[in-house]
Symmetry: C2
Subunit: 433 residues, 2 copies
């Protein structure tokens, strides 16, 4: 415990020096990380084989085993991911705005790293190179806590990567902790850790959110809706409603509930029901949709359930307003879509649905950092502050205000004969070196 | 308790309709608020007189009484504040970025209100019109909890203002709660409240931060430093070090500690000591500064204390790096300044000091929303996510992603023959109505 605290304290302190690193230095360290992974494939695979052996002995599920397994291909993807981060623009030290408060007194808003990021994750060892490269490029320190099942893989990756950056950047800014007790210590370290990113199951994220005062970036559930409006194009409705459910049901941006306007229910429900059934999707109906297509009745619980599976709940609604209310009450504020040809209805939906992503005539499955053009994804957030929706490297940034004067004092700007502020926006950039 | 929860639940639900209000409608409601305050001065002053009478009976301190007292002039300031908010640009529905993911598939990042803001404050009834006008303009609902000592004043202001907006905007989005039990209920309502803004003493803010899972915008302490570098201009150092301490010591952006580089300590300390003594400032010294200017020795505790008073702790440091380390260890990450003519030293300081505001040759007292040109101030934040430093209306905003397609599905973008994303930034704006 004391050890963890002191290494995180050191990491936090050293992380402040990352702000001053120039882009070339960071990119050299990143390239060294990529090369080290390539040079140490054997070592990584050996460590992973040991994790897999133990996991099989302990009867881990196939899904978990699949996530845990590292292959040569997967290492190539990790390497490509690091090189992608090299190609990303350095986000540190940008002038976001500048204003002359008065002659010779200029205020700059400068982008800077958040500081120390805590990443708590399950199974997937590829989180280590991905997050470590994003943090390095954005000037953040990071403390990792992986799942017990991946201990050997994570440790091998972490050791290879930190050794690779040694001498290029201060490697003390990267910390890995391993025991359950260490996690509890971590959650208490709001003095040193500025942001937590949990990656794992809903229960896992909820546990983290409920047990720390550190801000958490993430989402606990992904209960996404498809709403087919009275003025929907039936073909677009069919394609997007199907894609949103069956393209990959196991993830947070897959649809869980289909809402259909009563005016098109008789026409649309039989068509989409056939599409779902052809794809082995179980349909759970409200009374009105059951009247039209038959099948199984949904329970109250269904409307608040993230199936992550080939199951969908279906409901007929009386109006756009009812659809919006239903989504705001039962959704998880993640991603919800409307199918309509009516622009006004689309904008009412986009304004009124209180979700990170509101889509019009496009599958919910597009809610993803890569598809959104962000390059590497830090996570998907349903928070209402800082970052929302798919979050790229920008989610690891904040800003500071740098005010440059020439001996300016506030006394001159108060009372009788007070000098007046100019508050003129200016275009100048502050070179932070 | 149940009542509070249900009125806040209603407010949250109704607050979602504020996003669709056009700017004129919001400005008409704001003007109606301004006129209602002007028309009801007597009523406000009467309610305030009652609060003052009780407060005097209960022996409230003079400082508290001063904050509590409403005068006709103060009402004029409230009215002017509301009219300032009318003149602010409507922050809702702006296109922050736009990108063509592919032909006919465009992603817009649109600014939107956070949702429901909780404001917990002590003494100053002028918080009610200030925050209510900012929230209305930015499309947020708000629940107020004021101090017991201002119950009558707050209630009078709140009733006048909500009556003034009735029929123009849904008045249910504004809620005021009054009992201690209601506060505890409020802190538990993370389901409905998206952001808390506590305004009051450090202990008060710390209490709020420690007792809720709702994100808190604010700062608990303001331990600000002035560092006089070896290449400081002595005249600028004198002026800014004095202004930072004595211009108004009772506030968070006043300096508490003066650090002086050893190379200029012998020259500078006697000058500034005279300035402080002439202004009745008590000086608490480290051994080296005591050797030079004599006086009282500082205890360990002094370096971590926000005096908010005519007291300053003084320390001689060996280097710029030592000053930076000292500030990062003992400061509150609020506002810290360097006095130097050396640009490189200034930039090292600006990069390495981990504070919301880092100032060069300008008094710490400039750290303020009005002086920063933000118009109305929501608060000053030492958070590392969302908003940092003086926060204006932008601190009440977040964004959502609106994706507009034409029946686009993810299936087409995966596997063999996958369509490629274009990810082209575009200039188009989305009209949200």
């Amino acid at each position: 415990m004391t050890d963890v605290k002191s290494s995180i304290k050191t990491a936090k302190s050293k992380s402040r020096t990352l702000t001053s690193l120039d882009t070339d230095a960071k990119n050299r360290a990143l390239e060294s990380m990529a090369q080290a992974l390539e040079a140490n494939k054997e070592k990584i695979l050996r460590a992973n084989a040991e994790d897999l052996r133990i996991a099989e002995e302990e009867g881990l599920s196939n899904v978990m085993l699949k996530r845990l397994k590292v292959t040569e291909d997967k290492i190539d993807v990790m390497v490509a991911g690091i090189r992608d981060v090299i190609s990303l623009k350095d986000p540190v030290g940008e002038t976001m705005s500048a204003m002359d408060l008065d002659d010779g007194l200029t205020l700059y808003q400068i982008s800077c790293p958040i500081g120390m990021i805590g990443v708590i994750f399950e199974s997937r060892p590829d989180v280590v190179p991905q997050i470590m490269s994003l943090c390095l490029k954005s000037g953040n320190g990071v403390v990792f806590k992986g799942g017990k099942e991946a201990t050997n893989s994570n440790r091998a990756l972490f050791d290879i990567l930190t050794e690779a950056v040694d001498g290029l950047v201060p490697k003390e800014v990267f910390v890995m902790i391993e025991t359950r007790e260490d996690v509890n210590a971590l959650l208490d370290l709001d003095e040193y850790i500025d942001l937590l990113i949990p990656r794992g199951s809903n229960e896992f994220v909820k546990f983290i959110q409920s047990n720390t005062r550190i801000p958490v970036l993430g989402h606990a559930a992904g209960i996404c809706h498809v709403y087919v409006d009275s003025e929907a194009d039936m073909d677009k409705a069919f394609k997007t409603a199907l894609d949103s459910k069956v393209q990959y049901p196991a993830v947070c941006n897959a649809a869980e509930t289909l809402l259909v306007h009563k005016d098109v229910a008789e026409r649309f429900l039989p068509i989409i029901a056939k599409g779902y059934i052809d794809n082995d999707v179980e349909i759970r109906c409200d009374p009105e949709s059951m009247r039209i297509i038959g099948g199984k009745e949904a329970s109250d619980e269904d409307w608040d359930t993230e199936y992550n599976d080939y199951i969908i709940s279906v409901k007929v609604v009386d109006s756009l307003a009812d659809a919006v209310d239903f989504i705001n009450s039962h959704g998880s504020h993640h991603t919800d879509m409307i199918v309509t040809e009516n622009r006004k209805a689309a904008m009412v939906f986009a304004n009124a649905v209180d979700s990170a992503d509101v889509f019009i005539n496009a599958s919910t499955r597009f809610a993803d950092g890569f598809r959104f053009g962000k390059g590497a994804e830090v996570g998907i957030s349903t928070n209402k502050i800082h970052s929302r929706g798919p979050v790229g490297m920008e989610g690891l940034m904040i800003y500071k205000y740098v005010l440059i004067g020439d001996g300016h004092v506030v006394k001159d700007y108060v009372g009788k004969d007070a000098k007046q502020f100019k508050h003129t926006n200016v275009d100048s950039k502050l070179e932070m070196f």
